[in-house]
């Protein structure tokens, strides 16, 4: 402690900005780690809480994915010996049509039995006023709102509220108000309760329910209830406690969570380099001080401990600050994650109270300190080894010894061989990942050498640009590779991740765009919701002929989709009129014969699967698949594999006749309309809107609008790329400021001599600026190379282990080009202050140095 007080504290006070910059490495890592996890947890927690509130006392829920099932299933569930109460439920999302209030989540239940499962507080006139239970059931326009929503919008019992339904804008009558607690707090109060049978009509559900909620008889265990119901209902039905829906949701978000975890771990990893860099610099800067201490009798261990203690102190301060910033940021991050969930998965969820997890925050705090200490360990070791005599000889410590260099090169060469050999000789995943890790370690080992090589390579360029300043800047980098290697490594890693993620975004975007062009080529899409919500109202199939009768319509196709349980996960079932699709938008299969594929599928003799599903489940043409449906097990062979991005977890495409037979559901999610030649698409759109104006709620999207929507959603997925670019910029600024500051301190004598012999102010400034820009340039070169290799590995991981998506390798040239001015600009900005230091210092002091 004394050494810290006497030696470290004065140093920190003299270099306040440097100390802050050093700590900011940890602040950055811990804030991203803590903030991202808190935000993620907040949204998932809010989702789980909503499920909990909606579920009430429900012990088990019976579902068949989100396709729903017939009313007869309710009778089967109610007949089970273990079941005490079973009630049908439909959930739907409707536009509230109130400015600023967004959508209302409708929970439609059978009030005659539902009160056993959910607490509506009917008994207290103050808490809830249900005008009349019988009127509520008798009138399909009845709706119960939350008191909060009603008060927000000046509604009371008897008020009328217009909601968008399958039968057009419909006026509902408020017949009850729920107090703002429990159930009523789900979805931030944007909840409406209505009768389930009225909901069937309003939301085009036919005679189907979305799920059955149930409570078990006293003494019956959850397991016994599940077993009995599974036996009674068959494999198409999931019988799970409500909490499992939360877990399914989390599983659905697996790919997103992986990305999030990678980003936050990456931020912390970058922190290591910033700390390492700062401490390496500090050791270099304080060589004479260390030498004096050693000369006065300080042991090597004591010197090492000083630096480790400094690392720990900075880690504590940085982690605490990082946690505070992270928690502050998590609110807005949670909101954007919630928006992403809504857009990508169709699950509207508002981020509720911040869900800070003491364990995660403690982990982040501890990780920050450990990271800091670990990053300081090598410089501390170097400090302990400082020879007092050598400490007086400037430059010697900076040179990379030939022996050390040889060891690094040999080790790295071995790892490179492993990295190259792994995909060639080993097809197993462990071997693949071993190769990936070997490649990363090899790059880290080679980073100092690579930066030295690149510095030598760009010396002529710099010298050509500015003969004096350029040569001096390049020589500074070449003579002291250790000074710059940590910054270059951090930059390289940042940019490698940016390039790889951006490449993935580009590849995904291109692939989806290509799929949209071939598979989604109708002129118009008739939907019931402005956004493709799974729980949007559905249309009756009879509407197809009504659309077909509109002048200018060439062809109408019915489209129906829904997620179902499949194996240990879920897949999207897509029901199409295969024969018609074969004529309008046939896709070239990845596997199988196109004509045979459509013929067999149209005849109901096979199904087409998405390439991603085929990859993840090992399916190929001829493979028999078993699809559990509510009214039978579908056993059909795969007749083709196509690229399809309907769902992240894969899709099964079947003829509509198969779907209607096995689901007993002929409702339609949306209609795809082809215009006759010579008919204006805009005119046709107007005709369709007018045809159903007072009858149904229809949204008619043009091909371009749908395409934009889909591609926008794809874009949102990769907004994290921008976060990573921002991190890279911060890293560049921090690293370059640090590196240049010490470079100037190191070269005070040299710079002093330059000024003494007539070196101009602008030449000194130019030298430092160029050195900063050169560091960024080296980082850019190496980052792009490593990023390109990283992209290859990531695409393989996405294909093989995450989503099964076949994404073409597309180098993100635009991002790479954007990074050049961004990083060079950041480097130049970072160099301004150190450059000023270089020219403002006292010439006398500079010449007296050492």
């Amino acid at each position: 402690v004394n050494l810290l007080r006497l030696i470290s504290w004065p140093y920190a006070r003299r270099h306040v900005l440097r100390t802050i910059l050093t700590a900011s490495g940890i602040v950055l890592g811990v804030s991203v780690f803590g903030g991202m996890h808190t935000a993620n947890r907040t949204v998932l927690g809010a989702f789980a809480q909503t499920i909990d509130r909606i579920a009430g006392k429900t012990e088990l829920q019976v579902t068949a994915g989100d396709t729903g099932f017939g009313e007869d299933v309710l009778d089967v569930v109610q007949s089970a010996k273990t079941v005490a109460v079973a009630v049908p439920v439909i959930e739907a999302v409707v536009a509230s049509n109130i400015a600023g209030q967004g959508n209302l989540r409708v929970l439609a239940v059978d009030m005659t039995g539902d009160r056993r499962l959910r607490e509506y507080d009917f008994d207290s006139a103050d808490d809830l006023v249900l005008e009349d239970a019988l009127i509520f059931l008798a009138q399909p326009d009845s709706v119960i709102l939350t008191k909060e929503f009603a008060e927000r919008n000046g509604l009371s019992i008897g008020s009328r509220l217009r909601l968008g339904t399958a039968v057009g804008q419909t006026a509902f009558t408020v017949r009850g108000l729920m107090k703002s607690s429990g159930l009523a707090t789900a979805f931030g109060g944007n909840l409406a309760v209505m009768d389930v049978y009225a909901a069937q009509k309003m939301f085009g559900r036919g005679r189907m329910f979305d799920r059955v909620d149930l409570a078990l008889k006293e003494g019956a265990t959850i397991t016994a209830g599940q077993q009995e119901l599974r036996t009674l209902l068959g494999p198409a039905f999931e019988v799970q406690p409500p909490s499992m829906r939360g877990q399914q949701f989390e599983a659905m978000l697996a790919a997103y969570s992986i990305m999030l975890a990678a980003s936050s771990a990456f931020a912390l990893f970058i922190g290591v380099f910033i700390i390492y860099n700062s401490f390496t610099i500090a050791v270099a800067e304080r060589r004479s001080e260390i030498g004096i201490l050693r000369a006065l009798g300080a042991t090597r261990a004591q010197i090492g401990r000083i630096f480790l203690a400094e690392g720990a102190a900075i880690g504590i301060v940085g982690s605490a600050t990082g946690l505070a910033i992270g928690v502050l940021l998590s609110r807005s991050v949670a909101t954007s994650i919630a928006t992403l969930f809504g857009d990508v998965y169709g699950v509207s969820q508002q981020a509720g109270e911040l869900a800070t997890d003491p364990v995660v925050l403690s982990l982040a705090f501890a990780a920050g300190i450990v990271t800091s200490v670990v990053a300081a360990a090598i410089p501390a070791r170097a400090a302990a080894r400082v020879d007092p005599v050598m400490a007086l000889q400037k430059g010697r410590q900076q040179l990379l010894s030939a022996g050390e260099s040889r060891v690094r090169v040999m080790l790295a060469a071995g790892l490179v061989i492993v990295a190259i050999a792994s995909p060639v000789f080993g097809r197993t995943r462990p071997v693949f990942y071993a190769g990936y890790v070997s490649g990363i370690v090899a790059v880290l080992l080679l980073a100092p050498l690579l930066s030295l090589w690149v510095a030598r390579a760009i010396r002529p360029v710099l010298a050509w640009m500015r003969p004096v300043e350029g040569a001096l800047a390049a020589d500074s980098l070449i003579q002291a590779p250790r000074r710059t290697s940590a910054t270059v490594t951090a930059l390289m890693l940042c940019l490698a991740v940016v390039v790889a993620f951006s490449g993935m975004a580009r590849s995904t975007y291109d692939s989806i765009a290509q799929w949209v062009d071939t598979a989604l080529n109708p002129d118009l899409f008739v939907t019931s919701s402005a956004t493709p919500e799974v729980q949007a109202p559905r249309f009756p199939s009879t509407m197809a002929s009504e659309i077909a009768a509109i002048p200018g319509v060439e062809r109408v196709q019915m489209f129906r989709n829904g997620r179902i349980a499949y194996g240990d996960g879920q897949v999207m079932v897509v029901a199409l009129e295969m024969e018609s699709v074969a004529n309008t938008s046939p896709q070239e299969p990845v596997a199988g014969n196109r004509d045979d594929m459509y013929r067999e599928a149209a005849a109901g003799r096979g199904v087409i699967v998405s390439d991603s599903l085929a990859q993840l489940r090992g399916l190929s043409p001829g493979t028999p698949v078993e699809i559990p449906a509510p009214y039978g097990l579908i056993r059909l062979p795969v007749v083709g594999v196509v690229v399809d991005y309907s769902d992240g977890q894969g899709a099964i495409l079947m003829d509509r006749s198969v779907f209607t037979r096995y689901w007993r559901d002929d409702t339609v999610s949306d209609f795809r309309v082809y215009a006759q030649t010579g008919t204006s698409v805009e005119t046709l759109r107007q005709r369709i809107v007018e045809r159903f104006a007072n009858e149904r709620q229809v949204f008619v999207l043009t091909n371009e609008e749908l395409r934009s929507y889909i591609l926008n959603v794809a874009d949102q997925w990769f907004n994290l790329t921008w976060v990573q670019i921002a991190i890279a910029v911060v890293v560049a600024v921090l690293g370059i400021v640090n590196t240049l500051t010490v470079s100037i301190t190191d070269r005070r004598r040299e710079l002093g001599v330059l000024r003494a012999v007539g070196g101009l102010r602008r030449q000194i400034l130019g030298t430092v600026w160029l050195e900063g820009v050169a560091i960024a340039g080296i980082g850019l070169v190496l980052g792009n190379i490593v990023g390109g290799i990283n992209l290859y590995y990531l695409l393989d991981i996405v294909r093989q282990d995450v989503a099964g998506l076949r994404l073409a390798y597309t180098y993100p040239l635009v991002t790479a080009a954007t990074l050049v001015p961004v990083m060079l600009g950041a480097a130049f900005s970072a160099a301004i202050w150190p450059a000023e230091l270089a020219v403002r210092g006292s010439l006398v002091e500079a010449l007296e140095y050492e």
Partner: protein, 257 residues
């Protein structure tokens, strides 16, 4: 008054089986049998006025027509709401079974469809009134045990007091019921329903009138003692053994109306 009127009104039959476990029990069972015998009719029709008053002073009123065919335990009944306008046309078909809970369907004309009312949770209130769905059911008398308690006077009339408890096999929200049967005409005067040791509902029978030889309570008053709500049912135009068609007590008939 008549036991038949009680059954007719809301099928509230809490009378039944008996164990030959002593003279008091035998006597209780004899009384129950006599109540049932005197109230027996092949059919019933009446117009009902249902008024609910909650503890906050809020009042709601509905009118219906009631028709029943068949005798106790195997009867079928249809309730059709006639007022207020919002519920006009809503109909309820109740098919009673001697050995299990009744089946019930509801027809809602605004939706043009029927729905089955699953009475798994029979403690639920009957459409906002103070009756529960369980209170609507005809029950198998054999699933209860009875005990005769000391006589009491209700509304100035001397009554037998009978304690009725569901057997273990019988699922009921109530732990027990106390039934007071008038000695002058074998009409039920009051039923107190208990959950554990607390009286939760009290049903009073009033305004007795002899209609076609059956003593009929023209007014029933159910009090939910926990909520403080009261529901009053008034029977008008009561007619026993009217010629009713069996085919009018089906789902198809419900949909036709």
């Amino acid at each position: 008054m008549s036991r038949g009127a009680v059954i007719a009104a809301l099928s509230l039959v809490l009378l039944a089986g008996f164990e030959s476990a002593g003279s008091a029990a035998d006597e209780a069972r004899r009384i129950v049998d006599e109540v049932q015998r005197r109230g027996k009719s092949m059919s019933l029709r009446y117009n009902g006025l249902l008024q609910s008053f909650d503890s906050g002073g809020k009042t709601s009123e509905k009118r219906w027509t009631f028709e029943r065919t068949g005798s106790h335990g195997q009867s079928k009944s249809v309730i059709r709401f006639t007022a207020p306008p919002e519920v006009r046309g809503v109909a309820l078909l109740v098919v009673n079974h001697p050995d299990k809970a009744s089946d019930q369907w509801m027809w809602t004309p605004a939706l043009e469809r029927d729905r089955r009312i699953a009475l798994q949770d029979r403690s639920t209130r009957f459409f906002g009134t103070d009756f529960s769905f369980e209170d609507l059911e005809e029950r198998d008398a054999e699933q209860y045990t009875y005990a005769l308690k000391p006589d009491q006077v209700i509304d100035g009339v001397s009554c037998w007091t009978i304690e009725s408890r569901p057997r273990e096999s019988k699922s009921s929200q109530y732990t027990k019921s106390i039934v007071w049967v008038r000695k002058d005409n074998y009409g039920v005067a009051r039923i107190d329903s208990y959950i554990k040791d607390e009286v939760v509902r009290r049903l009073n029978y009033q305004s007795f009138e002899n209609i076609q030889g059956v003593w009929t309570a023209r007014e029933l008053r159910m009090t939910d003692l926990r909520r403080g709500g009261i529901t009053r049912l008034v029977l008008e135009n009561v007619q026993y053994n009217a010629p009713l068609q069996e085919s009018d007590f089906t789902l198809q008939a419900l949909r036709r109306q």
